[in-house]
Amino acid sequence: MKEDTLNKRPKRFGMVIDLDRCTGCGACMVACYAENNIPFKADESNKLDSINWMRVFKITNGKPYPHTEVCYIPMMCMQCEGREGDGHAPCVSVCPAVATDYDHETGVISQIYTRCFGCRYCMAACPYHARKFNWWDPAWPADMENYLSPNVSPRMRGVVEKCSFCYHRYQLARDRAYYEGRDEIAEKEYQPACVEACPTRAITFGDLNNPGHAVHRLKNSPNAFRLLEKLHTTPKVYYLTRRTWVRRAGDNYLADEHLNTARKRIIRQQGAVK
């Protein structure tokens, strides 16, 4: 079957987010809500029990005015590859019912809503708090139900959900390529909703393995870093910033530990694993 040969080469879809470009407008979050049929509560003030596959955090350098600097960090599922880089992400290996799995063809971590029975072990395992639990039945204001996306199934109460890198968009792009007799999909054919919505083009998305994709180059920038790299979760979401204090805020360092030395050690360790 032709589909078997389509996109044969394994991909590692990933993101690079330029924090120096992010204005914290939240358009990515809104786009994500609309694209993925994410329910919301009447009162969204408590973010700890609301569902957001993507959340923009605001951090400051802690200095008084006029030296105060602000940075916004959009965070979603980091699609971790695990300590050995073999797909044993913190959440994947713990799920007792194989309701979440690492797809070695795309590098995307799936969530099977109909198989999840809501033990929340994956949430306990995820250091990024990327996984959200449906504490309530999903509900939308009456008219909004007509505008739900037919490509994404809404989730039921009592299961965990998370960012899928808009995987349905990948499936649609692949279907189209198959229909048109192509083996590969182009970089622009598969872009998650948040990437498209960002007005400052702070988010870049693509195949980290593909030298032709922008993310491949960007992730190797000296200003690139990942969140909590020291935990060796090996995320596929990278961040870019020229500001040292932001890079330092992305991980935990001992008081006498130099940022660059620590990061070089981590990169060396991960290079050895790969």
């Binding site: 713990v94 007792p96 072990y121 949430m123 708090h129 020291k230 805020a249 935990n252 360092y253």
Partner: protein
Amino acid sequence: MSKTSWIPEGVKRCSGRRFALGMAAVTAVLAWGVYAMFLVWYKGLNQTNMNDAYGFALWIWADLAVIALGGGAFFTGFLTYILGQEKLKGIINYAVIIGFICYSSALLILAIDIGQPLRGWFIFWHANVHSMLTEVAFCLSCYFAVLTIEFIPLILENPRLDRVPFLHHLSHNMHGIMAVFAATGVFLSFFHQGSLGGVTGVLFGRPFGYREGIFIWPWTFFLFTWSAAACGPCFTLLITWITEKITRKTLVKPDVKQLLAKISGWMLITYIIAKIADTIYWALVTAPSMGFTLMDFYSNNPVYGIWILIAEIVVCGVVPGLILITRTGRENAFLLMLSAFLAVMGCCINRWVMVLQVMAVPLFSFNEWYMYTPSWQEVATTILPVAYGVIVISLAYRYLPVFPQERELNPAD
């Protein structure tokens, strides 16, 4: 012959009226818990104060704690049937009943805790054998079956049931091969007690809970099994003491208690040495490699100070351990029970920090500690097993020959 009493021969029990009154009071508490349980099942986990940062909370702690304390059943069974400590036959029945209550409670709490209770069986059907929780679910269920098998012969020893020839023989035969069941129970317990330790120990995204280990097992795997074997019998001793106070009778000979306490004490002292070694390695090597110092886990929050580590290891570990391994300590009834109580508290604190503090510690420098207070529904459903336990123990004490030494120790009856 036809007028055989339901109450075992030669022992004195309170009047039916008094018993019913006591039961009614406990049943009211039980009903409160059952109401909360149905509320959670009907309305969902929004009835709790858990949230996305606190996915594991009071229930998982209760689960881990009752399983550890119920470990008295497997370890006393191991000592009695496998190592041949005949003396412990004076307390093994009670250890089994307490274990049965603990394990059935754990299963019930798990059924309340999951977001989709009707899909609970998926853990068996779609089993991910790499998950510690899968291992826990399988071994827990199997071991609960073993405990039920261990409990059945005692139920069949009720005077009325014992009159039925088939049941009489069944009970006799089950007693005959109890060592086989006990050995299976030990095998299963070793794995699920350990896997419960593994639940947190494998979380390499959670520096507070994560531990290195050997092969697929983090050190917490062995520490949990060890502490359950040490503190479980202490819980059995503590409940026996409470039962003796309520019934105003001596039900188990002091030498039986002291033997169990001595073994417990040595288990506790060796466990606490291993725990101290584990804590030192974690504080000096594991946590710093993840960018944390020990005090990062014990400061900047209203509850979790270094006191909790000292309370767990020194006050509730080293102190009761030392008392229990000394003859004078064991022979003093007050010190014996104080030590058992402290050991039980130590085990509960350990399970608490390995569930709730793991969730509370912030992982980003820009995050605050996550604090949590359980909702009344969570509290009620956690008290539910206690009420259920009191009822089962009361019924067992009244109608079954739980304590083989009771008649001898209370001849006036």
